[in-house]
Symmetry: C2
Subunit: 330 residues, 2 copies
Amino acid sequence: MDSLLRYFDMLCLIPKAPNSISTPEILKKLQNMCYAVDLRTVQRDLVKLSASPLFPIANTENTKPLRWFWIDNSSPMQLPMMSTDEALTFKLAEMFLEPLLPPSVRSRLAGYFDLADKRLKESKFEHWVEKVGVVPKNLPLLPAEIEPSVLAVVYEALLKNRRFKATYQAIYKQPKTYEINPLGLVFRHNSIYLVATIFDYTDVKQLALHRFKDAELSDRIVSVPKNFVLNDYIAQGNFDYPVDNHLQEITLKLKVADFLKQILLETPLCTNQRISQIDDEHYLLKACVINTEQLHWWIRSFGTGIEVLEPLELREFFAFEAKALNEMYQ
Amino acid sequence: MDSLLRYFDMLCLIPKAPNSISTPEILKKLQNMCYAVDLRTVQRDLVKLSASPLFPIANTENTKPLRWFWIDNSSPMQLPMMSTDEALTFKLAEMFLEPLLPPSVRSRLAGYFDLADKRLKESKFEHWVEKVGVVPKNLPLLPAEIEPSVLAVVYEALLKNRRFKATYQAIYKQPKTYEINPLGLVFRHNSIYLVATIFDYTDVKQLALHRFKDAELSDRIVSVPKNFVLNDYIAQGNFDYPVDNHLQEITLKLKVADFLKQILLETPLCTNQRISQIDDEHYLLKACVINTEQLHWWIRSFGTGIEVLEPLELREFFAFEAKALNEMYQ
DNA sequence: TATGAAAACGTCCAAGTTTGTCGCTTTGGT
DNA sequence: ACCAAAGCGACAAACTTGGACGTTTTCATA
């Protein structure tokens, strides 16, 4: 029984395919976990485990301290088993994420989606796919593809606080190689941007991940500019949607069309919104919200379905825009 | 060694907490898997396994065929271990899904997000959170909460093709109990809708999941109306965003502002889009897209940043709307 | 309420497995 | 070329496993 636990812990110590761990390293780690075992035992156990098709582990046969790893492309085994509920939720999440995340990011979770598939199939619940639909809220734009090896380096650099060397091709320019000092990742518009400084300059740049041609981890530690905080950097409007009045909260009064009432009742703008009837076809909406560019987009997207009443500033903003739009189409 | 595999398969047979499996059932299933074991052995094994903190399984002590289950609230164990890459991707997915999925749906995956957390913590990579940001594309509306027990019944009913009895409270109406014949789930606007018929009527209804007060599985099998296909039902515009001309593909010509060029280059509208310069501040975009309501939203949301040139029909549609909008604000 | 089938659980013991030890071979670095 | 470290085969002692059997408990049916 004790050995069962040891087997388990051993299997946990072994990393997935690109990485590996040597037999003596496993021994040391097991001893740290208070298993009083011999190297010979560890060797024997590994051979035994790898013989079973349940545990697809293998070693590098030609090196002398043998290095062990899990053979790739297998979806993870898991205890307790994934429930059908979880499997369904995974598939739903996959549907949601599909138009949002670039393929190389999504593919990191492919094993889990496969596991969910298997689970639903073995339960004879295959037909669920025909029973689920998504009505997208956004126009599905094509997410830009990111070179998987670049993504791996960027992930590792951010996690380990290390810089990396990379070739970046700005639009309409020749590719150039820089040493990147990564500060953070920002997702926007189905694209991923690296916020970083370059070489030893101090100005913060935004680099689209899909424009990197290659990347290689360096040994230099990341240096964070004084007072740099990613969320502040975003809030300052560095991602081309400046937050108008520094996150000012406003009391919004909108005259909304009939059909919008339903939507707003179900997914309110804020917890304390109020809706009252104006006439047969219009309702008055009151809500406290933060005056962001996203709010403007949202209001615009309903066209004549929303009329901004207050604050007056915002009404004038939209009135001006309506006038400009009308003139544009003359 | 053979017994290790048996332990593993035994653990796989045990379901999570609300469900359970009796010792004789486990015996039968193991025998089907060609394990020639005695009931006594199974009993002993289960006691042994449950004694280890690694396998939080327990039994119902007062029933006579003892029923075994995994004690809840533990995040799943998995082999091979979740890599840091996967863990990071899970956390990113969580950030994305947070404003999209209702809490009760998201909570089904909580174990995996916790696992990802643990993994990142034990790797001393805790600071990644400060290094990732999301610039939301949409106004974050509050997703409507769904009663977890209702969600469970709806999931089960859909998977097992069974009807259920439920109390539904339509807006401004008294709650009523119906027998629901579920046909499919549709996600729209951060809300989830059940497409279903009621009792033995044949008209297809849409029922918001968050308006169900309770639900209980019934034994009656679902009957699908003739020719009902969920995706067709959605495409027919039953979710209040009718697809204008039956998924007609149009060749779009837009005059777009400078800043939109960047966005469109990175996340194109379609694979064959063309962008050419008109003047210092404007570009011509050509793309073949499907003429959906989402496209209209998208165009509207950029205000004066987009002028529709072709097709003429669409231009006139927006010209008319601009005029109406301008008049509205006079 | 009696009866019987089924499951849980204790104990014994033989068969089988595990594991430390030792010795030999192979490998890689200095 | 040498040495340290790891792989590998063999062996025997120690330990674990698992079937057999008996007793007790529970639940369903007569």
